[in-house]
C-alpha cells in the first residue's frame, strides 16, 4: 500500500514539476507578449521608486536620536526607545482611543453620505437642477479648514453667535458648543460632512455613469420601481467602487486631518480632541523631536498597513476585487 502510494506520489511529483516547467515557460511567453504593458507601467514605477521609495530611508530616524544638523548618518541609534516612550506615555491610550472614536464616527456617519447623495442626484431628471445642486454641494471642498472653523466660531460662540441667539430666542439655555467635550465630536463630524460630502459624490457619480443603461430599461419593462432599481441595479454596479474606497479609507484609520482637529482643539476639549497628529505636531515642530514624531508616524502607518491587508483579504473573501 505504501509502495503504491509512493509510486503515485512520485508520479504526481513528476507531473507537477512538468506542469511547473510548462507554466513557467508559459509565464515567460506571457511576460514577453505583454512587454508593451510593462513599458506603460515603467514611468509610473520609476516615479514611485524615485520619489517614494528612495526617500523612505528617512524612516530610520524613528530608531535614532535624530538631529537635523548631524544628518541621518551622524545621528545616534536608539533602537525602539521612542516606541517604548510612546507606549508608556500616560496619554497614549487616550489618544489612541480618541483617534479610533473619531475614525469610527467618520466611517459610520460620513462615509455613506456621499453614496446616498450621489444616488439622490442620479434620480434627478431635470438636468439644470441636477447640475446646479451638484455644483453647489461641491463648493465647500474649496474652503480651507481655517475658514470653516472661523465661520463655525462666528455661528456658535456664546458672545453673540447666531445659533446661540436662536436657541435663546426659542427659550432655551445657551449651549457652550466650543468649550465642551461633548460637542467636539459631533462638531468635527458635521464639519467633515459639510465640507466633503458633495465632493465625495463625484467618484460615485462617475461609477453610476458607467452603468449600462440597458439594465435599467430591462428593469423598467419588468415594472420595477425607482427604489427597486436603485437597490438591484445601481448599488450592485457601484459596489466595487464602494468597497475600494472603503478599504482605502480603512487604511487611513489614524489619519483624520491634522489641521482641522488642531484648529478645533482647545483647553477644555483636549481630553477628547487630542489625536496622534496634534500630539506629534507639538513634539516635532515645537520641541524639535523629529525622531519621536517619525516614530509615532511609523506606528500610525503600521496600524494602517495591517488594517488595509485585513480589509483587502476580507473583500476578496466576499468575492470583490480588492486592492491588489
Amino acid at each position: 500500500m505504501s509502495e503504491i502510494q509512493l509510486d503515485s506520489d512520485l508520479h504526481y511529483k513528476q507531473e507537477s514539476v512538468l506542469k511547473q516547467r510548462k507554466t513557467s515557460s508559459e509565464r515567460w511567453r506571457r511576460i514577453k507578449r505583454n512587454k508593451l504593458l510593462y513599458l506603460m507601467i515603467l514611468p509610473g514605477a520609476l516615479y514611485f521608486i524615485i520619489f517614494k521609495y528612495v526617500p523612505m530611508y528617512g524612516l530610520v530616524i524613528a530608531f535614532q536620536d535624530y538631529k537635523p544638523y548631524k544628518g541621518i548618518s551622524g545621528s545616534e541609534w536608539v533602537g525602539f526607545e521612542h516606541f517604548t516612550t510612546l507606549f508608556n506615555d500616560p496619554q497614549f491610550w487616550q489618544i489612541f482611543a480618541n483617534t479610533l472614536i473619531l475614525f469610527g464616527m467618520n466611517l459610520l456617519f460620513f462615509f455613506p453620505i456621499p453614496i446616498i447623495l450621489a444616488l439622490m442626484l442620479n434620480e434627478v431628471r431635470h438636468s439644470l437642477y441636477k447640475r446646479t445642486i451638484q455644483t453647489l454641494v461641491y463648493i465647500p471642498h474649496f474652503m480651507s479648514w481655517v475658514i470653516i472653523v472661523s465661520i463655525s466660531f462666528v455661528m456658535l460662540t456664546l458672545d453673540g453667535g447666531l445659533i446661540n441667539d436662536l436657541i435663546v430666542w426659542m427659550g432655551f439655555e445657551k449651549i457652550n458648543f466650543l468649550l465642551s467635550q461633548e460637542w467636539f465630536r459631533p462638531m468635527y463630524v458635521l464639519q467633515v460632512i459639510w465640507r466633503e460630502a458633495g465632493w465625495g459624490t463625484i467618484i460615485y457619480l462617475a461609477a453610476i455613469a458607467s452603468i449600462d443603461p440597458q439594465l435599467y430599461e430591462a428593469a423598467r419593462m419588468d415594472g420595477a420601481s425607482r427604489l427597486r432599481q436603485i437597490w438591484h441595479i445601481t448599488l450592485p454596479s457601484i459596489r466595487n467602487v464602494i468597497v475600494l474606497l472603503l478599504i482605502l479609507k480603512i487604511g487611513d484609520i489614524l489619519e483624520l486631518g491634522f489641521e482641522h482637529v488642531y484648529l478645533l482643539l482647545n483647553s477644555v476639549n483636549r481630553e477628547v480632541a487630542e489625536i496622534f497628529d496634534t500630539f506629534v505636531y507639538t513634539a516635532a515642530l515645537k520641541n524639535g523631536q523629529f525622531s519621536y514624531g517619525t516614530a509615532v508616524g511609523f506606528f500610525k502607518s503600521f496600524v494602517g498597513l495591517i488594517m488595509v491587508i485585513a480589509a483587502n483579504k476580507l473583500a476578496k473573501k466576499f468575492g470583490d476585487e480588492g486592492l491588489y
Partner: protein
C-alpha cells in the same frame, strides 16, 4: 524688473505647458540678471569716489508677516546705500519653522538666516552648540555700530556665554489697557489705577449701559486665546506674579507655583464668572477679539498699547464719536505695580558656516549689517523713502496716513528685519497725531521703570528644550480651565504636580543649576 517678470510669467507658464521637461528655471534665471546689473551700475555711480570694493552679494532668508514679498523699490535703495547686491528670500511666517528645519537638515541655508522668534531660537541652540553657525563675539568690536547693540539683550541671546546672533530690537514692555474713554466719561469713571478700579470699569461697562442705547448689549473686557500677549500675563504681573520664572526661598521656580499667579487666575475667573468679558475667550482669535471692540460690544482691551491707533481707526468707522484712552499703571492688590519685560528682541539673525565659507566673507556680511545700523539705512528700512512713505515732522518720522496699504506692501517686510532699535541705530522715532497714541508711546517708556525681568531668559534646560512646550500646554490648559471654573485649586495643584513628575522637576533642577553657575 517687475515689468519684465510680468511679461515673463505668462511666457514661462506657456513654456511649461508646451515643453514637457524643458524647465522654466533657466528662463527665469536668464531674465534675472539684467535688472541686477542695472542696479550694480547705479551703485557704482553712487560710490564713484570710494570705488574701493565691488558690491558684495548677500542672500538673506527671512520670515514674511505680510501677504506678499515687497517689490524691489526699497531693496534698490538699500543696495545703493550699502554697496551690496541683496537677494531677500521671504517665506511665509506660518510655515517658516518647516523651512528652517528642512534647510538646516539639508544644508541649504543662504548666507544670512533670520529665525522666526524666541522659540525657534530655542530649537536652534543645539545646532549652534554644534558650531553650525559663526560665533560673532570676537568680531563685533570691529564694527562701530554693531558694537553699540544693547548688552542686556545680547546677553539674552547668548549660547553658553558666546554670541552667535544679531537681534531685531523690540521695546521691553508695551503692555497696558486700552479703553473707550467716551464710555467712561458717560458713566463718570476715571482712568483705572488699580485692579479693583479696573474691575469696577468692567462691571460698569457691562451693567450700566455705557453707550446709552438702553440695551444690555455691552461688556467690559475682550480677550483672546493667548495667555502671554492677551490679558492674562499683564494681569498676572500687576498682581506681582513673576515673569515666567521667579525667585522663592533662594531658588528659581516657574511662575505658576507662585500665589500671585493664582491671585491673577482668581481675578480673571471673577471677571469671567460675572460675565464682564467674552465667555469664549479661550477660543477667540485675535480678529474676533478685536471685532468685539470695533463693534461696540466691549470697551476694554488689554495688550500692546501701541495698537491703539489701529483700534481707534477701526472703532471710529462704526462709532465716529468713540474716543480711546490708554493706561499702563494698574496697581495690584498690595499697592505695587509691575509689568513683565520681553527679552528685548523679536527675532535673531544667524550666519551658517555651510554657506558663509570664510572669515572674510563673514566680515563683509557683518559690514552690511553694520551699515544697516546707521541712521540713514535704518530709517530707510524702518520707515521707507522720505516723501514717498513718510515725512519728517519735529525731527520724527510721520508715516503718510493715506498710504497705509502701500507702506505695508513696500516697507513692512524690511521693517521687520531691522537690527537694533531707535536708541542704538539712531533711526527716526515715530511722530503721531492721535493723542492716545502719543500717550501710549510715553507709557511704554514709563513701563521701563517697573519691569519684571525673566531671570531664566538666558538659562538653558535640556529637558525644557525637549518637552517644555508640551508640558507648558498642560499648565496653560489648567490655567484656562481654572478661569472658566472647570477645575478648582486642588485640580490646578494636581496639574502642577503632574507637570513636576513628568519632567518639571528636572527642568527646575537644570534651570537652577544654570542659574547658580552664573551667580
Amino acid at each position: 524688473m517687475n515689468k519684465v517678470k510680468k511679461i515673463l510669467t505668462p511666457i514661462c507658464v506657456l513654456a511649461l505647458s508646451v515643453g514637457l521637461f524643458a524647465g522654466c528655471q533657466s528662463n527665469t534665471q536668464e531674465a534675472d540678471p539684467p535688472p541686477k546689473e542695472s542696479g550694480k551700475e547705479n551703485t557704482k555711480k553712487e560710490n564713484n569716489e570710494e570705488k574701493v570694493k565691488d558690491p558684495i552679494s548677500i542672500t538673506i532668508m527671512a520670515p514674511l508677516k505680510e501677504p506678499e514679498s515687497p517689490p524691489d523699490l526699497l531693496l534698490n535703495e538699500i543696495e545703493k546705500l550699502t554697496n551690496t547686491e541683496l537677494e531677500y528670500q521671504f517665506f511665509p511666517d506660518e510655515n517658516y519653522e518647516e523651512k528652517l528645519n528642512t534647510s538646516l537638515a539639508t544644508e541649504s541655508f543662504p548666507q544670512v538666516v533670520y529665525l522666526k522668534n524666541a522659540n525657534s531660537f530655542l530649537l536652534f541652540k543645539e545646532a549652534i552648540r554644534d558650531e553650525q553657525f559663526w560665533e560673532l563675539g570676537p568680531y563685533l568690536s570691529e564694527f562701530k555700530n554693531l558694537s553699540s547693540l544693547k548688552e542686556t539683550t545680547l546677553n539674552n541671546t547668548k549660547v553658553d556665554g558666546k554670541l552667535y546672533s544679531l537681534y531685531v530690537g523690540r521695546p521691553l514692555s508695551r503692555a497696558g489697557v486700552i479703553y473707550r474713554q467716551d464710555w467712561a466719561d458717560n458713566l463718570g469713571i476715571d482712568s483705572p489705577t488699580d485692579v479693583d478700579e479696573l474691575f469696577e470699569m468692567f462691571r460698569a461697562f457691562t451693567e450700566d449701559d455705557p453707550d446709552g442705547n438702553g440695551l444690555d448689549d455691552t461688556f467690559g473686557l475682550t480677550d483672546r486665546n493667548d495667555l502671554v500677549y492677551g490679558a492674562f500675563k499683564a494681569v498676572a504681573s500687576w498682581h506681582g506674579a513673576p515673569n515666567n520664572w521667579g525667585e522663592k526661598d533662594g531658588q528659581l521656580l516657574p511662575q505658576f507655583m507662585f500665589d500671585e499667579y493664582i491671585d491673577a487666575m482668581d481675578y480673571m475667573k471673577k471677571v469671567h464668572e460675572a460675565g464682564y468679558m467674552n465667555q469664549d475667550f479661550p477660543v477667540t482669535s485675535k480678529s474676533d477679539q478685536r471685532n468685539l471692540f470695533y463693534n461696540g460690544t466691549a470697551g476694554v482691551y488689554i495688550g500692546t498699547m501701541s495698537d491703539v491707533s489701529t483700534i481707534n481707526n477701526e472703532t471710529t468707522k462704526n462709532f465716529p464719536d468713540a474716543v480711546m484712552d490708554v493706561q499702563n499703571y494698574i496697581e495690584g492688590p498690595h499697592g505695587e505695580f509691575g509689568t513683565w519685560s520681553a527679552p528685548g528682541y523679536g527675532n535673531l539673525v544667524l550666519f551658517p558656516k555651510s554657506s558663509v565659507k570664510s572669515e572674510e566673507e563673514l566680515k563683509d556680511i557683518l559690514g552690511f549689517f553694520d551699515k544697516m545700523m546707521t541712521p540713514e539705512v535704518s530709517t530707510l528700512m524702518y520707515w521707507g523713502i522720505e516723501g514717498e512713505h513718510y515725512e519728517v515732522k519735529d525731527g520724527k518720522a510721520s508715516a503718510f496716513a493715506d498710504k497705509k496699504d502701500q507702506i505695508k506692501r513696500e516697507v513692512k517686510a524690511f521693517k521687520d528685519s531691522v537690527i537694533g532699535e531707535v536708541q542704538t541705530s539712531g533711526r527716526l522715532d515715530g511722530f503721531y497725531e492721535l493723542p492716545a497714541r502719543i500717550k501710549a508711546e510715553e507709557l511704554i517708556l514709563d513701563n521701563n521703570d517697573y519691569l519684571i525681568f525673566d531671570p531664566a531668559a538666558a538659562l538653558d534646560s535640556d529637558t525644557y528644550a525637549e518637552k517644555g512646550s508640551r508640558l507648558l500646554d498642560s499648565i496653560n490648559d489648567a490655567t484656562y480651565n481654572y478661569i472658566l471654573g472647570e477645575i478648582d485649586r486642588a485640580g490646578f495643584d494636581q496639574v502642577v504636580e503632574n507637570w513636576k513628575n513628568n519632567g518639571g522637576n528636572d527642568i527646575i533642577k537644570e534651570i537652577n543649576e544654570a542659574w547658580d553657575a552664573i551667580n
